[in-house]
């Protein structure tokens, strides 16, 4: 099955890229934008039929590799 993860900087960690994109959007005329946070998206195909197992594996992968637990959080989605 396919499973995906979104990795973003933790809420309290400075996101320099998001800050610049936010400012640029405002300059481009999108006055109603309040905040932008940037992250990474991973889509992984996993040989697994049990959703729970897949999620557990994904969580492990995120913790061990995809996310830097010092500064990043992640959320997992089944497709």
């Amino acid at each position: 099955m396919k499973i995906s993860a979104i990795v973003t900087l933790k809420k309290e960690v400075l996101d320099p890229q998001g800050k610049v994109v936010n400012q640029t959007l405002k300059n481009m005329g999108y006055k109603n934008i309040n905040n932008v946070r940037q992250g990474k998206y991973f889509e992984i195909e996993i040989d697994e039929t049990n959703e729970k197992n897949a999620k557990n594996t994904m969580e492990e992968i995120c913790k061990k590799l995809l996310a830097n637990s010092i500064i990043e959080d992640f959320t997992i989605n089944l497709k």
Binding site: P16, Q17, V20, V21, T24, N27, M28, Q38
Partner: protein, 227 residues
């Protein structure tokens, strides 16, 4: 000859290029990205650096600057535009030059002197490289890996729009002499009218024999000669 160097937040080779232009008696003016009109100029330079910190995509946010509209007009009228390093990335994001600049193949920043084959000397930037076909210039970038679809690459080759190719000391353009994984060892390209040049190497850093080379000088001499 008059030039204008556009300064974006995060540009950091703006001083270097202005020093070079002055050294070769080109009258230069610095232009802040937030201006709407260019001063009267024959040459517009988009300098190297990390405009907007390279955030989102290199060159992408700078390409949305106010001044860019006037740069595009200047280019469309046949005015000269030179984009170096981040300037090249910006030119690509504005659509003035084709292709994309991806992360270096080894996923590392590369700062070193490289050999280049001057592939086209029939343009106002490279006239003085005639007879001096292998030159040495510094590169310093993280995203210089030129990529384009086959069709575009073929067009660039067929129309002789590749200005520089990475090579070794003997002029061989192969994988070993390709520092960043660029398609066809491309280091710099021209537009169809040959009034726009985008290149990853830094000619402005090699204009004095006390530095590790002065092969950049020829480019500024070429520009001067064409006016």
């Amino acid at each position: 000859m008059k030039s204008a160097v556009i300064v974006f937040p995060g540009s950091n080779c703006d001083r270097d290029i202005s020093v070079a232009l002055k050294k070769f008696q080109i009258k230069n003016e610095m232009v802040w990205h937030d201006e709407s009109d260019l001063p009267k100029s024959d040459l517009v330079v988009l300098p190297g650096g990390f405009s907007y910190g390279d955030y989102l995509r290199t060159g992408c946010i700078a390409s949305k600057s106010k001044i860019i509209n006037d740069v595009i007009k200047h280019a469309e009228k046949g005015g000269l535009v030179l984009g170096i390093c981040n300037g090249f990335q910006i030119l690509i994001e504005t659509g003035l030059l084709p292709g994309a600049l991806l992360r270096n193949k080894k996923l590392r920043f590369i700062s070193k002197n490289v050999y280049l084959k001057v592939n086209n000397v029939n343009n106002k930037f490279c006239l003085n490289y005639k007879g001096k076909k292998i030159i040495k210039l510094p590169i310093a970038h993280n995203e210089g890996n030129f990529f384009a679809q086959e069709k575009i690459l073929k067009e660039l080759e067929d129309s002789d729009l590749i200005a520089f190719k990475y090579c070794d000391v003997n002029g061989n353009t192969n994988e070993a002499s390709n520092p960043n994984g660029s398609s066809k060892n491309i280091a710099g390209i021209l537009n169809v009218n040959k009034n726009i040049l985008g290149m990853m190497p830094h000619p402005e850093r090699h204009i004095d024999p006390v530095l590790s080379g002065d092969d950049g000088s020829f480019m500024f001499e070429s520009l001067l000669k064409s006016f």
